[in-house]
């Protein structure tokens, strides 16, 4: 059995060296219930937390004055061996070690406590590392220069690779961009994608699974929004119908045909099953040579080079002790890094900070299967926050569990009642039992129709208004969900409460209480539940992303009122242009360029625009996607032949 051990070293205010090892999670702060109590000014009561996440150890800052890792302020960061955490006056050195132990083996002279993160017998045992020698700084000091001379990089010890096209993120945004490049004639050998998950949908799938969308569950995405097919035809609906016909499932095929012909008026909007989308991406990944293009790497910093390119400092440190640091030089960069973090409502964040209880108060995007397991066994009350698509799915999941254990109650806490849906022009959104419906996260026309055209021509203040009206929290109008809400309300096991949360606390009996105040009642209301699920979303604040934040600060890039990147209509970060070199972006951080970007189709559009612009700018070997090439490439797609 292999385990990862974590050890922390620091010096107390009296100059005495301190050492700590403990299973994760570890909390640090002023409060005496912390795993490590640190007493000094400017340290929060629950300042920071170290926990296991997949195969990594992550630090999450909860403080008001901030936590620095290697001199940079961080929100959530993956720790590596040798990192220096700074909390107030304390500098804490991290020692991470992997070793193989047997379960019977007792802790001996090394007195390390093992934190088992993975049962991976293939991992080689490494000798225990005692206080690690100081390692050379990374990114190298030459990254302090605005234009890094190539010769200086070559003079250093770090391995350097070169490529023409480099995409950072390695998720769906990167994948679709690479797909376009390949279809426009760029060889797989000229493209590199750096990311942390081997599958381009790895991160997306994790968020789906955590928020209870399994392979057979349907996404909130259009039939023709296909990350595996830039043309969007045939869409997932037709393909699913084809599968049914192949399997001689006539009724199913007819049902799908009817749905595709009559959605959304006479039937639910067709949406694909997540498993089908992932399988299609796997197929396309194989076709375009993604395994050859993708490399594991966490990008730490990006700088312009003196020769009109970019240099990227990245770490490949995974499960080994020795840090692997490398550099890559590229002519054209693409940033598709996704959401930097999960957002927790402020009152829940405060509760977690005060109590260190991460088990009973969870975000729907975090792993929280334990909540459902406990409900299934013991029943109980769940307090649900949020009224979007994730909240709908969580409610459906609770309904499924309730069919096996009826002793479950769901309290849905909403800030204010909603009597009417947003309206625009002659149209209005439907509200039913406090849930507001919209097929996708924007009106359909925002992707390419009238809504999109209005947005593009609107003056800035009008644009903000349109975004407010068309965005907002909505869920999909699925028959099953509407039925669950109606039944739950009628049977009394699902109820809704309205009010602003004052605080979340544990009462004397140990129950989890949400104290709310409603505007029409003088007294506070106390809602008791066994667990709280926050289904309100993800953080899209650009400064929460260390890499982007570094770029913004270093090159003085402007950001938007919504804290996104200020991108041009072709998704270029114009402030980072370096002679012929260009940096494009995609995903939620580039929402300023296209409101509906945070969708499969939006990523497709961003890739199309930026690749087209690269060709116009004279990027080497890039072919125009004219009708003839487009048709020829589609035929290759259909035949499963490499582009």
């Amino acid at each position: 059995m292999a385990g990862i051990t974590l050890r922390l070293h620091w010096t107390d205010p009296n100059g005495h060296p301190q050492k700590y090892e403990d299973p994760l999670p570890i909390t640090l702060g002023r409060h005496k219930d912390n795993t490590i109590q640190l007493e000094a000014q400017k340290i929060s009561r629950w300042h920071a937390r170290l926990e296991a996440s997949d195969d990594d150890i992550v630090l999450i800052d909860n403080s008001s004055n901030g936590t620095l890792v290697n001199g940079r302020r961080v929100g959530r960061v993956i720790l590596e061996n040798g990192d220096a955490i700074q909390i107030g006056p304390f500098i804490i050195t991290v020692v991470i070690n992997i070793e193989t132990i047997t379960e019977e083996q007792t802790l001996s002279d090394t007195d390390l406590v093992e934190v088992t993160l993975a049962d991976d017998d293939e991992l080689l045992s490494a000798p225990p590392v005692l206080p690690s020698p100081p390692r050379p700084p990374f990114p190298p000091p030459i990254f302090d220069r605005a234009l890094v001379p190539i010769e200086a990089l070559r003079a250093g010890d770090l391995p350097i690779d070169e490529t023409t096209y480099l995409t950072i993120g390695g998720g769906l945004g990167s994948f679709i961009w690479v797909d376009y490049l390949r279809i426009c004639g760029i060889a797989a050998g000229s493209i590199v994608a750096l990311g942390q998950t081997e599958k381009p949908y790895g991160n997306y799938q994790r968020l789906c699974l955590n928020s209870q969308i399994k392979a057979h569950d349907r996404l909130r995405s259009n039939s023709e929004s296909c990350p595996d097919n830039i043309w969007g035809w045939p869409g997932y609906g037709l393909r699913e119908m084809g599968q049914a016909l192949n399997g001689r499932q006539w009724r199913r095929a007819a049902g799908l045909g009817w749905q595709l012909l009559t959605e959304p008026i006479f039937d639910n909007t067709y949406t694909p099953r997540s498993g089908d989308v992932f399988a299609a991406i796997d197929r396309e990944a194989g076709r375009i040579g993604w395994p050859q293009i993708w490399r594991y790497g966490r990008v730490r910093s990006i700088r312009k080079t003196a020769d009109g390119r970019y240099v990227v400092a990245y770490s490949q440190t995974q499960k080994s002790t020795d840090p692997i640091h490398k550099l890559m030089i590229a002519n054209y960069l693409h940033l598709a890094v996704g959401y930097p973090a999960i957002r927790l409502l402020p009152d829940l964040q405060a509760y977690r900070q005060q109590t260190g209880d991460f088990t009973h108060v969870v975000n729907a995007y975090e792993p929280h299967a334990h909540v459902y397991e406990q409900l299934l066994e013991q029943g109980g009350a769940i307090l649900l926050r949020g009224r979007g698509i994730v909240a709908s799915r969580i409610l459906e999941r609770l309904y499924e569990i309730r069919t096996r254990n009826p002793h479950i109650v769901v309290i849905h806490l909403l800030r204010t009642p909603k009597s009417a849906g947003a309206h625009f022009g002659r149209a209005q959104r439907l509200v039913e039992n406090q849930w507001e419906f919209q097929r996708f996260n924007w009106p359909l026309g925002a992707w390419g129709g009238p809504a999109r055209s209005k947005l593009e021509h609107a003056p800035p203040d009008q644009r903000e208004k349109l975004i407010m009206v068309w965005g907002g929290t909505t869920t999909a109008k699925r028959k099953s969900w509407r039925h669950i809400v109606q039944t739950g309300l009628a049977e009394g096991w699902y109820r809704q409460s309205f009010g602003a949360v004052q605080r979340v606390e544990r009462d004397e009996a140990g129950a989890l209480v949400t104290v709310i105040r409603s505007h029409d009642l003088p007294q506070e209301i106390r809602l008791t539940a066994d667990a709280i699920i926050d289904a309100t979303g993800l953080i899209s604040h650009v400064s929460s992303h260390p890499l982007l934040n570094d770029l913004i600060e270093y090159y003085k890039l402007s950001t938007t009122a919504h804290h996104h990147l200020d991108v041009a209509g072709d998704f270029e970060l114009v402030g980072l242009r370096n002679g012929p070199g260009r940096i494009y972006t995609s995903g939620i951080m580039a929402q300023f360029g296209y409101v509906a970007i945070d969708s499969f189709l939006g990523l497709n559009y961003a890739a199309q625009r930026s690749v087209e612009r690269l060709r116009q700018a004279g990027a080497p070997d890039m072919r125009s996607l004219n009708p003839i090439r487009s048709l020829a490439q589609w035929l290759r797609w259909a035949g499963g032949v490499a582009p």
Binding site: E224, I230, W231, G232, W233, P234, L238, L260, L261, T262, E263, P264, I265, F266, F424, G425, R426, A427, Q428, R429, Q438, R439, P443, L444, G445, W447, G448, G449, P450, A451, R452, S453, Y605, Q608, L625, P627, S630, L631, W634
Partner: protein, 145 residues
């Protein structure tokens, strides 16, 4: 794809000028009335361009500014019925007219076969294959220029 009015017009013009003309050529030859067939195609275009304004207006009452795919088929049926009605009405002798210019005495079978073939081909092409040759089309409300 939810089209804009300009997009609808451009798509209609493009498809009638290409696929529409090709079918018109075939049908016109078989009925031995090439000029009448092309004039009919022009009427189809004019009615279609006007109908697009109506469709756009109707869809503006819908939040997502679209309607089911089947409505698109029915809209084609409605346009056909309207055009045939117009042709029949205008050649009614009591009205004192001699028929719509160029297509005054077109037979129903000629009209039906021609119109149905053109409309169905265009419907099928807009539902998919058009995107295969114009990958930008769906992001610009149906504009191809």
């Amino acid at each position: 794809m939810t089209p804009t009015l300009i997009g609808r017009w451009q798509t209609r013009l493009l498809l009638l000028a290409t696929i529409g003309s090709l079918i018109t050529l075939l049908v016109g030859r078989s009925y031995d009335d090439l000029s009448g067939s092309f004039i009919l195609l022009c009427y189809v275009l004019i009615i279609g361009l006007a109908a697009d304004v109506l469709y756009q207006f109707i869809q503006s009452f819908r939040w997502d500014e679209d309607w089911p795919m089947s409505f698109q088929l029915l809209a084609g049926l409605a346009e056909g019925v309207f055009l045939w009605g117009l042709i029949s009405l205008v050649r009614w002798e009591e009205f004192g007219f001699l028929g719509m210019p160029g297509v005054g005495f077109i037979s129903f079978s000629h009209f039906f076969n021609h119109y149905a073939a053109v409309w169905f081909a265009i419907f099928l092409v807009t539902q998919g294959p058009l995107r295969v040759i114009f990958p930008r089309w769906r992001f610009f409300g149906g504009r191809w220029l």
